[in-house]
Symmetry: C2
Subunit: 211 residues, 2 copies
DNA sequence: TGTCAAACATACATGTCATGCCAATAATTC
DNA sequence: GAATTATTGGCATGACATGTATGTTTGACA
């Protein structure tokens, strides 16, 4: 799952790599079709045809039609979690989260991402459709679990610790909310990473709950 | 949506009430079938037949097969949010959240809920199936939005305020995590409300993020 | 280089899901 | 009690998703 560009004697075999590449490729094709024609107006056969594969082959790469966009949605946070695990051990949790997030925005390790306009268009589509919204939430739910080991290691606790799990959930939710606000925003005055940064700093200080 | 038992000159017309009752009825029937035979082994026709309605009628009440369990999953938190809005204005946010939650556990206003064993069985089923998991996450995403007005009113801010939204998201996530941990737990030593109470108090004090 | 095995892609068939459309029945109003 | 409206049900249909069987590529090894 954690297929990043680096990795020395990495585990992901070459065939795994190719499979992952195909997934992101199809993901981009599908996102394009969805934003162009609409989600319901796009059949799986359309996606398969546009990706140059048979219907049955499509289902080897994705469990369901909605899942096609998952790789695109996950691309951003995945890199973030990777960097968090590698971040300077001397940093506090909040600083490490902020630093690694900023770094992942500046120079993403994976070329999977979309530019901001495409991502915004996709997120607006996601917000409007039930099945896609479910995938969006699922991606963040998975991120929550990915965050736990990284946070646990940093604070010297178990990933199964309630506090670790809550911290992962809180931070993760903050990022999701920031992204949703950014996507829903009228004008594109603020960039996505600025919105996320603000939200992270806010939860770090406790916000309304501390008052 | 907020069909509670009380309400003076309530908006929900009688026909709306009946519709809601039918939904919870079908919901219980479906949950029973799911936990008995398994989700995939249960067809929509099975659910419709067991509910005494035609297939076509079923789809007038639910958009999709998975959605059948949504009313059951939402029953708990809905009552909580209702009580939060009514809670003593002198209480601080955290205290109000805790008090209203405890109250909703003790004497639920709606008889929609399942007993703890049934709920636990359902949640374990939910965790194991992708489509059901999506509904679970969706229910909590909706709760997040329901919490916002109640929190906003209490702190004297707008529901669209970032801090309000983050507080709603954090609290909501804490409840979800607590429920998931409770459902996944080996023995039933702790009750669900105790788990939720612990999580709420933890996020109220800032937890790891405050350190 | 030729042969084999394993992994992968495609075709076909099938069952379920979900919805549009129209008829029948029940509820409501006058 | 007749007319109007809402709700339900049956039927047909297209799309989704998967099991199975059949090619087709790939790569190892003699």
């Amino acid at each position: 799952m954690t297929t990043s560009t680096r990795r020395g004697p990495g585990r992901p075999s070459l065939t795994e790599r190719r499979k992952e590449d195909t997934r992101t490729e199809v993901s981009r094709v599908a996102a394009r079709l969805f934003t162009d024609r609409g989600y319901d107006a796009t059949t799986v056969e359309d996606i398969a045809a546009a990706s140059g594969m048979a219907l049955r082959t499509f289902y080897r790469y994705f469990r369901a039609k909605e899942e096609t966009i998952a790789p695109l949605l996950a691309a951003g946070t995945r890199d973030w979690v990777d960097r968090l695990a590698d971040a300077d051990a001397s940093l506090g949790l909040v600083d490490a989260l902020l630093t690694s997030y900023r770094a992942s925005v500046r120079h993403a390790r994976t070329p999977d991402g979309l530019d901001e306009d495409q991502l915004r268009a996709l997120l607006r589509l996601v917000g409007g459709h039930s099945a896609l919204r479910a995938v969006w939430l699922n991606v963040y739910r998975d991120t929550e679990d990915s965050l736990r080991p990284a946070i646990a290691a940093r604070v010297g606790a178990s990933p199964d610790d309630l506090d670790v799990q809550l911290a992962a959930g809180t931070v993760n939710t903050a990022v999701r909310i920031a992204m949703e606000r950014w996507a829903a925003g009228e004008s594109s005055v603020r960039s996505a990473d600025e919105a996320v940064g603000r939200a992270l700093r806010a939860v770090a200080t406790g916000g309304l709950l501390a008052a």
